[in-house]
C-alpha cells in the first residue's frame, strides 16, 4: 500500500476508547442521532474521497486562485452590465439564497464534525464546514463591487437578516435541516437528499446555462462550489446505509421528508431560473427535463442501490413537477415588489416554448399570462401596479411558501385545526409532515400570523418595508413593460 494511503487511513480513522466518560455521554443521542449505535458498529464507515487535510488545503487554494482570477477578469460592473437582465435576476436570486443556506450548513457540518459517530465521518464533515464557509463567502465577495451599480445585489448579504417572505421560507427550511437536526438526520437530509438528489440541478444545470449566456463569473463559481459538494455529499450514502441496516423505517421517513421539502425549495430557486428568467436562447432544457434527468433517474437509482423505496410523496412530486413552479412564478410575478430581483414577462416565444415543454399543464396557465399581458397592454410601460397584487398572500404553515399547490382550477390547500389554531398547508405532504412532528413546527410565526398578530403590517407598501425592501431595490418587471410584443395587438 502506498505510504500516503497508509498514513491517510491511520489519521482519518483515529478513534479511541474513553476512560472517564461514557461513550453515550460523549456522543449523546440528541446530537449524534437516532438510532444510537456504538463506535464498534460505526467502525466500517467510509467515504470514497478520503482526502487529507493537506490535500484539501492545496486543492482549495487552487480553486480560490482560479475563482479570483475570473472575478477580476470578468466580474466587474462593465462585464455584468452586458448580461441579459433576466439572467441578472437569476444571479441575484442565487447569490442571495446561497449565503443564507450555506452559512447554516457550516453549523450543521461542524455539529457532525463533533458528534458524527466515526472519525472519518467527522474529518470529512470538518472539511465540509470549511467548504460551506467558502460557499458563503464566494457570493458575498463576487457581488460586493456590484452593489454600487445595482442595489439589488446588496441582498446577497441582506436577505439572511431580513423578514422577506423568501427569507422566512428559506430559514424555516435551513434552520431545521442544517441547524436543528442531529448528525444522522443532517447527513441524510443534507448530504444524501439535498446535495446528492437536488443540487446537481443548480451546479450542473445552471452552470451550463451560465456558460450559454456568457456569465463566466457565475459559471466559475458554481463549478468551484460543485466540486466541493461532490466531495462532502459522499457523507450521506454511508450514513444512510448504516441507518437502513439498523432502522430502515426511520431511514425511509427521513428520505421521504427531506425529498419533499427539498423539491419545494428547488422549485423556486431553480424552477424560476430555468423556465422564466434565463433568456430563451440560452435554455438547454426545461426545469422538468432537468429534474427528470438528475432527480427522477439518478436519485431513484441511489435509493434502489440502498434497498429503499421511492419517497412516500413521489406521486405528489411527479404531479407537481409540471405545475407547481409555474403557479408560484405567476403568483410571484404579480407580487414582484416583495422580492429583491426582477421578473420576466413571458412573451409569445417564451410561452410557445413553455407550451411545448409542458403540454399537459400550460393550457391551464396560459389564461393567467394572457390576463397579465393584457393588463400591461392596457396600462402601458412603467405602470407596474396595474399588473401587481395588493391583497396579502397566504402561506403554507410547513414550507412557508405561497399556497400555490394544485392547479388553477383546484388549489390543493388543506386546513387543519390543532390546539385551537387553524393551520393551512399548500399540499397533503406538507400537512402530513407537519402533523408528524407538530412540536417542531407549531410555534413558528409565518408572515400571515405576524400580520394577524399585528407584528407585521397588512398594507402591501408597509409590508415591503417590513420585508426590508425599498423603492430602490424591490422587484419589478425587467423591462417595466417595454416589450416589443406588447406594442402590437395580440392576434386571435
Amino acid at each position: 500500500m502506498p505510504l500516503r494511503d497508509e498514513w491517510c487511513d491511520l489519521a482519518r480513522k483515529l478513534d479511541w476508547s474513553f476512560s472517564y466518560a461514557d461513550e453515550r455521554q460523549v456522543f449523546p443521542e440528541a446530537l449524534s442521532g437516532t438510532p444510537w449505535l456504538s463506535a464498534q458498529q460505526w467502525r466500517d464507515w467510509d467515504e470514497p474521497f478520503r482526502s487529507t487535510f493537506a490535500e484539501y488545503v492545496s486543492t482549495q487554494q487552487k480553486k480560490e486562485v482560479a475563482f479570483q482570477a475570473v472575478a477580476e477578469a470578468v466580474g466587474r460592473v462593465e462585464d455584468m452590465s452586458q448580461l441579459d437582465p433576466g439572467w441578472l435576476s437569476v444571479v441575484k436570486l442565487h447569490m442571495a439564497t446561497l449565503p443564507l443556506a450555506e452559512f447554516a450548513a457550516v453549523i450543521g457540518n461542524l455539529r457532525a464534525a463533533r458528534f458524527g459517530r466515526d472519525s472519518a465521518w467527522r474529518m470529512t464533515s470538518l472539511l465540509g464546514a470549511l467548504d460551506e464557509l467558502r460557499h458563503t463567502q464566494l457570493p458575498l465577495r463576487a457581488m460586493h463591487d456590484l452593489v454600487r451599480w445595482d442595489e439589488q445585489f446588496e441582498w446577497t448579504h441582506r436577505l439572511f437578516h431580513s423578514n422577506d417572505w423568501v427569507a422566512v421560507a428559506g430559514r424555516h427550511l435551513v434552520d431545521e435541516l442544517l441547524l436543528g437536526s442531529d448528525a444522522i438526520e443532517f447527513a441524510i437530509g443534507t448530504h444524501f437528499v439535498f446535495e446528492t438528489g437536488f443540487t446537481n440541478l443548480q451546479f450542473i444545470g445552471l452552470t451550463s446555462m451560465a456558460k450559454q449566456v456568457g456569465d463566466r463569473l457565475f459559471e466559475q463559481m458554481l463549478q468551484s462550489i460543485q466540486t466541493d459538494e461532490a466531495r462532502h455529499a459522499q457523507i450521506g450514502h454511508p450514513v444512510l446505509k448504516k441507518l437502513v441496516a439498523h432502522d430502515r423505517e426511520r431511514a425511509q421517513r427521513l428520505v421521504d421528508k427531506w425529498f419533499w421539502r427539498s423539491f419545494r425549495f428547488f422549485a423556486v430557486v431553480t424552477g424560476f431560473a430555468m423556465d422564466y428568467l434565463t433568456p430563451l436562447s440560452a435554455r438547454r432544457a426545461s426545469f422538468k427535463e432537468f429534474v427528470e434527468e438528475w432527480v427522477v433517474d439518478q436519485f431513484q437509482s441511489s435509493l434502489d442501490e440502498l434497498g429503499l423505496e421511492r419517497p412516500r410523496y413521489w406521486q405528489a412530486f411527479l404531479d407537481a413537477l409540471p405545475m407547481y413552479h409555474h403557479m408560484l412564478y405567476a403568483s410571484a410575478y404579480t407580487y414582484r415588489a416583495t422580492t429583491w430581483f426582477d421578473f420576466v414577462l413571458p412573451g409569445p416565444a417564451e410561452q410557445a416554448w413553455l407550451a411545448e415543454k409542458y403540454p399537459e399543464t400550460w393550457p391551464q396557465l396560459a389564461p393567467v399570462w394572457h390576463n397579465i399581458t393584457e393588463r400591461w397592454r392596457a396600462a402601458g410601460p412603467g405602470v407596474e401596479w396595474y399588473s401587481h397584487g395588493t391583497t396579502p398572500v397566504a402561506f403554507c404553515n410547513l414550507c412557508q411558501l405561497v399556497l400555490c399547490g394544485g392547479t388553477p382550477s383546484e388549489n390543493s390547500a388543506v386546513f387543519v385545526e390543532r390546539a385551537g389554531r387553524r393551520h393551512v398547508f399548500c399540499s397533503e405532504p406538507c400537512r402530513e409532515l407537519f402533523e408528524a412532528e407538530p412540536e417542531r413546527y407549531a410555534s413558528h410565526q409565518g408572515v400571515v400570523e405576524r400580520i394577524l398578530q399585528g407584528q407585521a403590517p397588512a398594507n402591501l407598501l408597509e409590508l415591503l418595508r417590513y420585508f426590508g425592501l425599498t423603492e430602490a431595490n424591490f422587484g419589478r418587471d425587467v423591462t417595466s413593460g417595454e416589450y416589443d410584443f406588447l406594442r402590437k395587438p395580440e392576434r386571435g
Binding site: 403568483s331 404579480t334 389564461p367 396579502p392 386546513f415
Partner: protein, 82 residues
C-alpha cells in the same frame, strides 16, 4: 368587525388572505375577491361564493352565512357550480 379569510379564486395561481367586514354581503365579498385576483384572473359573468361545499346566497351577510375568521372561501364562475 373585519375578519380574515383564506380565499381561492378559480383560475388563480395562489391563495390570498382578505379582511372582510362580517356585515358585508356575500355579493360584496365576491366583488372583493374578484378585485383581489384581477391581475391574474378576469371573468365575464356571474360568480358564486363557495363555503364548506355550499354555494352561498348573495344577499346574506358573512355573519348570516356562518363564515368565521380564517375560513376557506372559494370564488367560482356561476356556470361552474354543481
Amino acid at each position: 368587525m373585519a375578519i380574515p379569510l383564506y380565499v381561492f379564486v378559480r383560475g388563480d395561481t395562489l391563495g390570498l388572505v382578505v379582511l372582510a367586514p362580517e356585515t358585508e354581503t356575500v355579493d360584496d365579498l365576491a366583488q372583493r375577491l374578484s378585485r383581489a385576483a384581477a391581475p391574474r384572473v378576469s371573468w365575464n359573468g356571474d360568480a358564486c361564493v363557495l363555503h364548506r361545499g355550499q354555494v352561498l346566497r348573495g344577499s346574506l351577510t358573512l355573519q348570516e352565512a356562518g363564515i368565521n375568521a380564517l375560513d376557506r372561501v372559494d370564488l367560482i364562475p356561476g356556470g361552474q357550480v354543481g
